[in-house]
Symmetry: C2
């Protein structure tokens, strides 16, 4: 039994099977090969024939069968976005998907989402994609300095782009937000408000941008002559409750910070709750600078200072990078770094 979804109620006049090259060949009186080549502007096809074929193809709405192409050429016309189901930020998932689809929209590419969970080796989904040849290009996030996934794909010649940089001496496309600059700007903004005992809610330990953030923080601290109040018990990967509780603990200590920098909006909500749990007031007892990817934090507490990170842009850049690599561009030329916005106070 053939399970294909063809129209059952074929009342729509003119028997409308999906047109194939054969259909086109029959209609134009040409051979299948000629039609195939005409559609892709091959030089050995006469100019008039080419135009004629393309016209007819457009008229009847010919669309190449993906399975046929894929079987024959190995080209899948698929980009896969690999996501961690526990730890990715909601805003990240949503925005990056839209960023990618925006770029992909007028190409033949489809976006497939390949998830993996905490329990799994992050290399698993990548290995699956490569082994089964399921995608022409891959986008990964939560990039590590020494990232086995990047190494693996490089070894197997699969085009990919990483959200975040690596540090393995290997060159590949990436898009990254300049978290070194972010942390630095944040420190300077707090220093400008007279804050000089600063704590940092870090990105997940182990990811590359953890390092950039920490380094930017440290360098700017000594630049402005402020000191760090260590806060290593949490990162933005922790739950809201954990961050809240530990922030409260921190803020009840005598040597509490008077400035906090947070690497993600969700964590910031918890941080502020923790500050208030400890009976302190934002803007008076402590200032907080936070990254955010959508304009929510100023609605939350207008005393917050924010820096915007555009995940939609990240998605677009990553998509462009993978497509570029697939198209044969130099991987080294497909790297981009986006600068943080100013540190923004509330503007009524």
């Amino acid at each position: 039994m053939d399970r294909r979804i063809t129209k059952k109620g074929n009342d729509d006049a003119s028997g409308k099977e999906r047109p194939t090259l054969k259909t086109l060949a029959f209609m134009t009186g040409l051979g299948v090969t000629t039609v195939s080549r005409a559609l892709k502007d091959a030089p050995e096809i006469g100019a008039e024939t080419r135009r004629r074929v393309q016209l007819v193809a457009k008229q009847i709405g010919y669309r190449p069968n993906r399975a046929g192409v894929r079987l024959r050429t190995g080209k899948t016309n698929v980009i896969s976005l690999v996501l961690n189901t526990e730890h990715e930020l909601m805003s990240f998932v949503s925005d990056i998907i839209y960023g990618v689809t925006e770029v992909i929209a007028d190409t033949p590419y489809h976006l497939i989402v390949t998830p993996y969970s905490r329990s799994q080796d992050p290399l698993d989904p990548v290995r699956y994609l490569v082994e089964t040849g399921s995608a022409d290009g891959v986008i990964i996030s939560r990039t590590q300095p020494n990232d086995p996934r990047a190494r693996y794909m490089l070894e197997h010649g699969v085009p990919f782009a990483t959200h975040g940089r690596t540090d393995m001496g290997l060159v590949h496309p990436y898009h990254d937000f300049d978290n070194y600059a972010f942390a630095g700007e944040a420190v300077r903004a707090l220093a400008a408000k007279g804050r000089n005992r600063l704590a940092l809610v870090t990105p997940p330990v182990g990811l590359t941008y953890f390092r950039y953030t920490v380094n930017g923080f440290a360098d700017a601290l000594s630049e402005v002559g402020a000191s760090e109040v260590p806060f290593n018990t949490v990162s933005i990967d922790h739950t809201i409750e954990q961050i809240r509780m530990r922030t409260a603990q921190l803020m009840r200590r005598d040597d509490r910070p008077d400035g906090i920098i947070s690497s993600a909006a969700a964590a910031t909500l918890a941080v502020v709750a923790g500050i208030e749990d400890a009976g302190l007031k934002l803007g008076r007892d402590v200032d907080v600078v936070s990254k955010q990817s959508s304009e929510v934090l100023h609605l939350f507490r207008r005393e917050l200072l924010v820096v915007n990170e555009d995940f939609r842009l990240a998605g677009s850049e990553l998509a462009r990078a993978v497509l570029g690599w697939i198209a044969g561009k130099e991987p080294g030329s497909l790297q981009s770094l986006s600068k943080p916005s100013e540190v923004l106070p509330y503007r009524g």
Copy 2:
């Protein structure tokens, strides 16, 4: 250009080529047909042969080539999630994707995300999917009472599930949140706090759950003897700024509401900002009940009353529904409605 690693027949088992049925046939000394049938437990294959083939297949990690299957059978092993790039909630996108992938994880299905934008007819992406046979099943959101997409897929015999119900007298799988109950509970909770002039921030006009919400609101109003303060100038589709501004306008009027019900967390942030812009205080001058899909609102303002809607569950249910339909179950048996949680106050 042939992108494959080699093009020689792979009957020499030494190579690192991806194993195919031919490889398996060579290794077992059987015919390709027999191997194919053995792998799918066809009855006309001897028990021992079957076991042997399956063992070898497992050993060498055979995985059917998706393009081959798809070309031959038309089965894509793809579920497509159709999303609006402007109006979907961030939490919705993220959670529903994870819900779907959770269910799909141990099936051969892949999830592809098919976007469409404001400017496009929502039917476009669906038509594309159906015409090109790109998916075995489709999930759509932002469902309307009379939904052309549902009608179209029904006509074309394509399995799908909708997030939200329709009202066309046609039966199809869906998952919905009981917004009638939500609005009712919200009204009763506000009434219990002595609020009796209530406003509603509605879902987008035109979507089915707009009606359920409005009806639940209206019925409960007359049940508790409260009155409605019309607030038709915004819906949760409006921007944060618009909602904030119009809420402020509303709250500056003499006949302002003393209770507001909001259909989405993001809108609620704006509503609260608007309330405060008007110089009023949450919990004293006005109470707000809001739906949310993650625990953020109580961090935002502890005076808020919340009702939780689980989008991850929605994703799972929708995926289960489509897969069920594909597997031949009755569409009518694949409908589910999830009841709202209690109206929850802040619990320290």
